[in-house]
Symmetry: C2
Subunit: 137 residues, 2 copies
């Protein structure tokens, strides 16, 4: 057991390792992130990832987070809580390095039945421009 | 399907709702976050949460993230990848509002078998001071 006094900057801890196989990716995704690029090898090959991947509205290509800027849990979720998600778009910008792609910054708030936030996430998602997607077809 | 051009700051999207029951909390936790306060009502009552909760080393009281400052996925996880986690303590500070508690800021890097990072997470964890934990016993 480690207490507050036992932690110090620069300490490093290393875990054991875990092999992630295709069936584990699909089983997790089926329940928690059912997007085609997690569930089906053929769909995966046509996606941003170019292969079955675990990475983690309805943007074309799926919901692909590139970087979360903040994630917090202001209060716990209790058994029986009824949750829903509200997402607000904060910022939209084209990618400077990848033409035809861009980033959508969203604040995603998960609320319980009392309207209290239980998770707040500010995430940058990948989006493709319509022009580029159409040109590809 | 929404393309880059379809997103604009201020847009709001609201999901349907989902009821989270105790068995769902336990089933998820058993596989992905097997800490006593997620798995057992009695253990949960004695924890920071004061009840079975879904919230997100070996700190006394469990690994309880309060706020992630950054989370990114530099590359995808592929089927067959072998992952491990390295955690580095970046900062330790006592809580100003809750005596006997404090925060440990960690950078947690998940690496594949080539040593390439697939997830980087900077998280603030709750920690209890030994003094406070001992006084309570």
């Amino acid at each position: 057991m480690m207490y507050l006094e036992d932690f110090a900057p620069g300490q490093k801890h290393v875990s054991g390792s875990l092999r992630v196989d295709a069936s584990a990716i699909k089983a997790f995704a089926a329940q928690f992130d059912p997007q085609p690029f997690h569930l089906d090898e053929d769909a995966a090959r046509g996606s941003f990832f170019g292969g079955l991947a675990d990475s983690g509205f309805r943007p074309a290509g799926g919901i692909i987070g590139t970087r979360a800027e903040e994630m917090k849990w202001p209060r716990p979720v209790r058994p029986g809580d009824e949750l829903h998600v509200e997402a607000e778009v904060l910022e939209v910008r084209p990618s400077s390095s990848r033409p035809g792609q861009g980033f959508v910054k969203c604040r995603t708030t998960t609320l319980n039945q009392k309207g209290e936030p239980v998770q707040v996430l500010v995430m940058n998602l990948l989006a493709q421009s319509r022009a580029a997607a159409t040109a590809r077809q």
